[in-house]
Symmetry: C2
Subunit: 493 residues, 2 copies
């Protein structure tokens, strides 16, 4: 049913996207926002057909998919609002000082779009990080046409969403080529798209292997382009003794739920839990195991992910000094992910890079440290992470400054006394982190700041007012925030 | 006198920088700013010795060097003010909404420093883009230690400036390792520094070959790091006929000065001037030639640059359909750059990539187009540029929308009816541009926005007020701008 796009088709698609870019980038912020809102409405109009198709293709339950569609619609609408508001444009104006020697010219700067953006659909978020997901919404807000490569695990779902985007584009009189939907089961189509000269940026959420390959292709081009790959992480959780002793039962329950939420198929899944040997940790491990035993396995997204989970988990459990704590007691089917918790000493973890790798699924490894010193050693040896979490009392936080500082330096989001799963869509969210969590720690793939991934600053020097873009004109008709002679202001000049 | 740093020395320097990072990044914005201001004062205190040493090493005249030191001091002071002001932190706060389902947590985000930054001194700006130049100032403001690799063309100048920085560091009680000065005539030292695991970002201004090599090393690391290489460009100037006809003499004079300013050793030197065949262009070429003949040659920065200028210019003049217009009439010495203007048809330019390459020095090529259509073709075939300039009347700008749009898309700064040389240090400046002008078009190497090159966002979720960094605390004691629940504000919470 779904054939790979041919090189000739890709060429036409990219030419159309390039042509569309020159029209779309001149449209007003309001026109872009209206288009995004029309996509949100069209997604809503897809009704149950979209939900049922996604259920078939992803094995995700109905409630989750309805919730995820709601999130996707919220993203489109809230990024549309941010687009119109214009804070992201980073408008800066320095007015002329003719009497200076040499005279200071009038200079005005704002962000302008990069060009056509290629988005790879993610398998674990068929709506929110796929066809009309966060990357697509950010690119449209920035003023860029979008080419989506459908994830091969949910092509029908992706097609319905793509049709909704095209309907919205039509109703808003968007230029031909503003959006294209491409299939490709193998790597050839992806490679042809990333290396096409008209592609100016790439958004991706998925595995390290996939993301790193796109990053390398992007950088090896004659004209290198930014590749924003969010590649997941093991999201370490540090359990400090006082906190653990006082509430091990509650934490165990909270984490059993977080580890197995969505069959563990979230990039913020807590895959590593680090505690200090003692009664509190023993109790925690015991209770966590008991809770995990009671959790009923559920189907994973697709065969590839189930098989990878079995292999990676099996491999982790085979490592020296790794011991199984508990598995779900319910009999597991072939397509299901078996909730599992294991444990290892800090020494084993420090000496074995295999244990630092993400096991994508409902699995977590509890690391037992001899003391706080060893816990800090573990923190020091961690790679870049999307999130890190501390479970600690106030007095522990005040005492353990070194641990806090080490952890700060490796994560994109630092959570206190909660769980890393659940990524709020808001401006203060940072979803990204030092490599290998993402390829560019300076950008977020969640929240309206993600728009800035697809734009670059451009300065106008010595232009007369009527020739400037509306965003930089004296009048400030759009009412946006601008930094005028070093002071933030909404004032006209 | 100056030996390459050994691998053991580099290891010690990087270890010290890493240790310093963990202390320096916790210092307040004010402490960072005070340190930067102390460097500015120490630079001033270097007095005439610094100027005279730089004159010997760079062949640049005294007035220029005094001016450049002034610019460097201004950069340090103005980026210090920006650092304290904190707009660059992009502080975002979303307060908790406990009644939401699921409850929305309190999330607060700000930029945090990347880690030790490696800066390569530039030969053409011995002060402003070298040891204590823009990259160094931005890195210190961001909270990062700096390792400078001295440019081999001015090691003594660099050493004096490095000593000034160390004096300032000492007087401000900065941690050991906050700054290091490294020598390396060959590529080995640079490569060892770029590929060292503790190096987290690189700043460079120089040739395409050098910058691209650093970019590749940076991306090929196990942990890729951002490499901000500003690699120059040919800075095209478009002469529209009505404007040219009315003021060819004035424009010719203005451009003869711009082409030869600083012996053409600026990355914004106008290396390509594009006009449309006709009397206006003929008159312009004639007058430009006359002006160039009268300009007295001056010594270039160093032997390598003079020789490269001779070879690259000679090669450009040998290309088919390229004709010499004029050279300076003054006899040229071996170490001097001979002011030169040549001309070619648009057809020749479109068919010959050699003519698209930068000839670093006092040289410019005038391209003759048959009509506006061909001028747009030339614009379409240009690579990414730091700057582009239009010389046009208001009515021409209104008519030539297509040209304006094409040019917008290839440049970082777009100048109207002026010259590209002269890069104002202010927030609205963008010095950077689409590849190959720079390796990351999203960042500027001039102006306080350059601080953001060396920082990444980090979100704090569910932290209590007293544990947050001062910048994100409810009180807003620092009085910085923050986006609170989507609205920019200086208010406390």
């Amino acid at each position: 049913m779904f054939n790979d796009s041919s090189p000739a088709e890709i060429e036409t698609i990219m030419q159309n996207a390039w042509n569309a870019f020159h029209i779309y980038r001149k449209l007003s912020l309001q026109q872009r926002a209206n288009f995004m809102r029309a996509i949100a409405t069209a997604l809503e109009s897809c009704g149950d057909e979209l939900i049922h198709t996604a259920m078939q293709e992803t094995n995700l339950p109905e409630a989750r998919l309805r919730g995820e569609r709601g999130r996707t619609i919220f993203q489109l609408n809230s990024y549309a609002a941010a687009c119109e508001k214009g804070d992201w444009l980073e408008a800066r104006i320095d007015t002329a000082i003719p009497e200076k020697v040499p005279p200071k010219p009038d200079i005005r700067k704002m962000l302008v779009p990069l060009g056509p953006v290629l988005v790879f659909g993610a398998s674990n978020f068929p709506f929110a990080y796929s066809t009309a997901g966060g990357d697509t919404a950010c690119a449209f807000a920035a003023g860029c046409p979008v080419i989506v490569k459908a994830h091969p695990a949910h092509p029908k779902t992706s097609t319905i969403v793509a049709q909704a985007i095209l309907t919205a584009a039509d109703s808003c009189n968007m230029p031909t080529g503003i959006f294209a939907h491409v299939y490709g089961a193998g790597f050839e189509v992806g490679k042809a798209l990333v290396t096409h000269p008209y592609t100016k940026a790439v958004g991706f959420t998925g595995s390290f292997t996939g993301g790193k390959q796109l990053f390398d292709w992007g950088n090896q081009r004659k004209e290198p382009i930014p590749v924003f790959a969010e590649m997941g992480s093991i999201n370490p959780v540090f359990l400090l003794p006082e906190k653990l002793n006082s509430s091990f039962a509650e934490i165990a329950q909270q984490y059993a739920a977080s580890i197995t939420l969505g069959v563990g198929q979230f990039c913020t899944n807590p895959g590593l839990i680090i505690g200090i040997e003692g009664e509190g940790l023993q109790n925690f491990i015991h209770d966590l195991g008991k809770s995990i035993q009671k959790i009923v396995p559920a189907p994973m997204l697709h065969t590839g992910i189930v098989n990878a989970y079995k292999i990676n988990k099996g491999n982790a459990l085979l490592q020296e000094d790794v011991h199984l704590v508990a598995e779900s007691e319910t009999m597991v089917k072939d397509n299901e992910g078996l909730p599992t918790v294991a444990t290892a000493s800090a020494e084993a973890f420090l000496n074995n890079p295999v244990l630092h790798q993400e096991v994508f699924g409902p699995y977590s490894l509890v690391i037992r440290c001899k003391d706080m010193h060893e816990m800090i050693e573990v923190a020091r040896h961690l790679e870049g992470q999307l999130t890190a979490t501390l479970m600690a009392t106030s007095s522990e936080l005040q005492q353990q400054v070194e641990l806090v500082e080490v952890v700060k330096n490796i994560c994109g989001r630092f959570i206190l006394n909660s769980v890393p799963t659940g990524v709020e869509v808001c401006l203060s969210m940072h979803h990204g982190g030092p490599f290998p969590a993402s390829t560019d720690s300076r950008y977020s793939s969640v929240g309206a700041d993600g728009i800035k991934r697809f734009a670059r600053p451009m300065a106008f020097q010595n232009w007369s007012n009527e020739l400037l873009p509306d965003e930089l004109k004296n009048e400030n008709q759009l009412g946006i925030w601008r930094t005028i002679n070093d002071e933030l202001s909404k004032a006209a000049i």
